[in-house]
Symmetry: C2
Subunit: 415 residues, 2 copies
């Protein structure tokens, strides 16, 4: 698996995660296990600083986060007024809390912190470390009753146990706003410039309507003060010649990828709605990495085609007919395809050599990230329709050129 | 009321209405009453011709229709084989039937025709003429039982009674396809040419989405092989200068009418989504005629603002705040506004000097035509949001220029 990281995200859009807990409870080793990196948490003398230490990190499946360490807030007695004031400075700017504890040492410090986090409506997950020594059931019943729904995950940072469950719990607990902060397309189209949006209208398109990713793309171009030139694939040459200059970007439905790639000059950035959706509703880097697994597929390998919703007629044909055909052609031998729809996602992914997911336009990003996370935890590569189609058509690199952060990452993966 | 007619519609899109009934039952006078015109129905000798006579007409609220007269099929005895063969030639091409009868003379001819119409699933309305002499209740009970849901409307063509009820019944009975055959915009944008669609995004726009008339317009441009350049009003000058030539049409949300009218060169056709919706979902000629009544409004006059659906947040502000303000400014004194939403439409329209209806994007055209018909029957002018706003802003004529058939009609109304 490729471990290259994407370009750093700006600090402002990172989810701020407060890491709370007494000294010696295993915060550093837990952070190492979560981020799969060796992180040295600076631990100043307790009580000597009010400036918590910040660590920008990539925490899958949540994406870019900023860990705010609260080493100054530990267990030197009860949570006094001075300590509370310092803790408020942290609490004022975290979006999510991890309270690291040990089952045997739950006391007024932990209870007070949890009450304060709850009062401020900061979603929190309790990581009960050293679970090789104990379990959440070892917490006193009175403590558990006062948890008020806060999830308690038994982990062993030392042995790497429970880390995936903790990640999943953090994903579930993260505030909804974290998943809404991305642009679908508008960051790729400077104000006043043109995005050409290619929308083939075939028999499966709903009468008199556009499908949701297309509507979302037009709207986001408008939100960014761009101009959206919408055409069918057949009219693309006329659209390009109606413009005085080159468009800033051409986006096509994946089904028309080949003709659009031919018609669009190489100098013009080009991608698909589905790849935009991977970036917006999923995790582009993880799904690009997953796409590369197509190269290793062999005839008879099982591929899971997953659709997020059950009522999208246009996806029907793509997921069941076209995509399998194109993948078979790419691999040069028939693969075995299973198809699922809606909320059911198999708990056992081990039979699959690849998962191909739809763009998830109807679902929410948290759910999509959870599925990506489950695939990665199971060691099963996951891609999406547009990425898999671009790869099958041999235009993968070109379709990723609008995303320089992934292009560099892709290069590193292949190196 | 202006009686000028719109330009004739092509024969193919006219609803074909078969007019059945014995001689002397009042078909000619009923047709005169329905069309408000003196029509001479050619009545050849019964049985001497198999060629029915066709009359293209404007039948409000159904629009352009073609009456197919069946003078050759009358009551010279029972409906024999030869007669059936002639009648089939008519039945093969009518979309809707009117069976004109008299209550006292219902016999095998009428019963046979109705059975044949029913077997062919041609929706039919029975007009029981000379109702000044009798009523549907005078039909034998056995006849009524065999009607199988066919509406029976008592009319007096001679005295003009029941004609509005007959029109309403024809509207209800007309096949759904009749209301779907129009273009929203694609007939105004030649293949390969550009329609600029101006969509202001304000706080009332649903997050990440476009409102339905906007989506419908983009889709219809694509269906017609046109190019849709979608922009906010602020970017319109940039959009026009990004194109090598003039667009075929500029369509704007009515709220941005004034700035768009300033920015679009006079030579470029310009209108609004709402006016397109009047043509597509309502009756543009009738609503243009209704709009002219704004000129006669005086302070204190009651105006009914009617919205077809209850869940359209963007209409909220328009119908309740902006439109009343602009109409008050146009009239120069405060009007009295009542607002209704959804399926309730007042049975008594007499308090109102004007009805202003939304574009009815969520409703069906049959319902909208029914409302227009009820307004006209009550002598109350009806317009729509876009037409009323264009009139208030003094850009009515310009906004109607893309519709030459209505422009001529408007000219005639004012002459």
């Amino acid at each position: 698996m490729c471990s290259a990281e994407m370009q750093p995200a700006p600090r402002s859009i990172r989810l701020h995660i407060g890491l709370f807990g007494r000294r010696n409870v295993g915060k550093s080793s837990l952070l190492n296990a979560l981020t799969r990196q060796q992180v040295s948490i600076v631990s100043p003398e307790a009580g000597t600083t009010t400036d918590p230490v910040e660590k920008p990190m990539e925490l899958l499946p949540l994406g870019p986060v900023l860990f705010v360490d609260t080493a100054g807030l530990d267990d030197e007695g009860a949570l006094g007024a001075a300590r509370m004031s310092r803790s408020r400075a942290v609490l004022d700017r975290v979006d999510l809390g991890i309270l690291v504890a040990e089952s045997g040492v739950w006391g007024p410090f932990e209870a007070g912190l949890l009450a304060e986090l709850s009062a401020r409506r900061i979603p929190t997950v309790v990581a009960l470390n050293k679970s090789d020594l104990a379990s959440p059931r070892d917490l006193p019943a009175t403590v558990l009753q006062n948890m008020d729904g806060t999830p308690v995950i038994a982990v062993s940072a030392l042995h790497g146990q429970g880390i995936d469950r903790l990640r999943e719990a953090l994903l579930r607990a993260a505030p909804e706003g974290h998943f809404d902060s991305r642009h679908l397309i508008s960051d790729l189209v400077p104000p006043g410039e043109v995005a050409v949006l290619v929308m083939p209208i075939d028999s499966s398109a709903p009468k008199g309507r556009l499908i949701l990713p297309q509507v979302m793309a037009v709207r986001d171009v408008l939100d960014g003060a761009g101009l959206a030139l919408v055409v069918q694939a057949r009219e693309l040459p006329q659209a390009l010649s109606a413009l005085k200059g080159n468009p800033a970007l051409v986006v096509t439905d994946s089904q028309a990828f080949q003709s659009v790639a031919r018609d669009v000059p190489d100098a013009v950035p080009m991608t698909s709605f589905s790849i935009l959706m991977s970036r917006f509703q999923g995790d582009l880097a993880a799904q690009v990495r997953g796409t590369l697994a197509i190269e290793n597929l062999r005839g008879g390998d099982r591929v899971l085609v997953a659709e997020g919703c059950t009522h999208h007629p246009t996806e029907e044909d793509i997921g069941r007919v076209k995509l399998p055909r194109w993948l078979n052609e790419k691999v040069g031998a028939p693969l075995h395809f299973d198809t699922i729809q809606g909320r059911d996602f198999p708990s056992d992914l081990s039979p699959y050599k690849l998962v191909v997911h739809c763009g998830n336009c109807m679902g929410n990003r948290r759910e999509m990230l959870s599925r990506i996370h489950r695939c990665e935890a199971a060691g099963v590569p996951i891609t999406n329709y547009g990425l898999a189609i671009a790869y099958s058509f041999g235009i993968f690199d070109r379709a990723l050129r609008p995303f320089p952060e992934v292009e560099g990452f892709l290069h590193a993966c292949r190196a």
